[in-house]
């Protein structure tokens, strides 16, 4: 077998491996989301965790999840940060609850009620999501709140939990114009 043929076979094997892994990943992700659609296990997990956090106040809100990605270039390297947020909202109030999933647990990093006297709000609906930005004194939390939060099922990935939340996002869209945010 000549060396050119060997090199070609190795290259084909590498490409095939990458394609197979990618396809398997996609299939796994689709299977995971199918489970979320039918059983909503991730939603149940998150709701339980939020209920434990908010106690009696849990029932006062509707819940959806959002995310945002931040990147920063330092020299030749770009650093990425991925944040997941739970949004608790009703006609008057919004709570922003950032969380991570680690070691099988949902861990909340903060609980921030939005103070409308200090906060300005911008939003833009699209077919797939609503882009929402809360700003306080010039510092902003931008986020996407998608109708379907896709997940590959890998817990410590950037999007660990999968949700079908069309109803919740539609409700948020009805509330957004009415929030008494700073102009």
């Amino acid at each position: 077998m000549d060396s050119d043929l060997i090199k070609t076979l190795i290259a084909v094997a590498v490409v095939a491996f990458v394609v197979i892994v990618a396809v398997l990943g996609l299939v796994k992700g689709q299977k995971y989301m199918k489970t979320q659609k039918e059983e909503g296990t991730d939603r149940k997990r998150l709701m339980k965790a939020v209920a434990d956090l908010l106690g009696d106040k849990f029932g006062d809100f509707t819940y959806a999840v959002g995310r945002y990605t931040r990147s920063e270039r330092r020299g030749n390297t770009t650093h990425y940060w991925y944040y997941s947020y739970a949004l608790a909202f009703n006609a008057a109030d919004v709570l922003i609850i950032p969380f991570v999933v680690k070691d099988g647990e949902i861990r909340f990093r903060n609980l921030m009620p939005v103070n409308w006297e200090e906060t300005s709000l911008k939003y833009r609906p699209s077919k797939k999501d609503i882009r929402v930005e809360f700003s306080i004194a010039g510092a902003a939390i931008p986020m996407f709140v998608p109708y379907v939060m896709k997940s590959s099922g890998i817990e410590n990935s950037s999007e660990p939990l999968g949700f079908y939340q069309e109803n919740e996002v539609e409700r948020l869209l009805t509330y957004l114009p009415g929030y008494p945010a700073k102009k």
Binding site: R70, E72, W81, Y83, P98, R109, N110, M112, E118, F134, I136, A137, G138, A139, A140, I141
Partner: protein, 277 residues
Amino acid sequence: MKKGLQILGIIIGVFSVIILIANGRDGIATLKPVVDLYAEDTDITKLSTTQAVEADIYMSLDYFATETTTRTRDGNFVSRDNDYYFIIPAFSGEELYFIGIRVDDKDFNTYSTISDDTYNYLMGITDNPGTTTVSEEGGLKKLDDEMYQYMVEWFQEAQWFENESDIDKYVLPLYIDPYIIKAARTLFIIGVVGTLIGILSAVFLIRGNKKQKEQAQAQTTVTIGGMSYPKSSLSGVDRFVSQKEIVFAMQELRSITGISAEEAKTVIDQWGSYYLK
């Protein structure tokens, strides 16, 4: 900003070191007084190879070697340059010695003319060595063994000396490498100054980092808005700042200090000057 300038200084230092490596020997030569090769008191046997020289070349023998540099890009020919090494006279008192001089393409014809005039003069065809002269300045350098061998072979083939042992005595392994002395001197000085800037910047950067680390370790409280807070109580704020979650950092800071949103934003924007690490 200060750190940025220090890093810039180090970068300047690195490039300056490269300049010194490329130019250092010539640069050192230019710091000494330039010697006229054909001055009466110039003794070629006593000149060192870090010596800048100048001369009006009026006589030369043939060229003994050619150095060709061919440039290619992606395997395709781009350009070709030739350097020719001519033999010129040099003196120690009344005694005649021979050294080389590097001549590029553009001066080849002039040196060829000088060589022809010198030949005619030596053969008695003309009464004087000719009127063509070239003013040169540059550094006196050592010929490498291979080039010196070519020079020796030229004298052997020309049967210039009666005794071959005179070749070793009168044919010196030296040549003049022409360059603009003022430019070489300037470049050398830039290289030295730049290297010093680089070294000083590196020293200040290292000392600054060390001092900053010591200050961070010594810090136990953080003063915000005139009030002091235990440093450990602000670790949550620091974590949000590290993760670039400014709003949460502000919220955490406000929950501890009670300051306004605008004040919190100002503190978070300058967090590094408050919370040392």
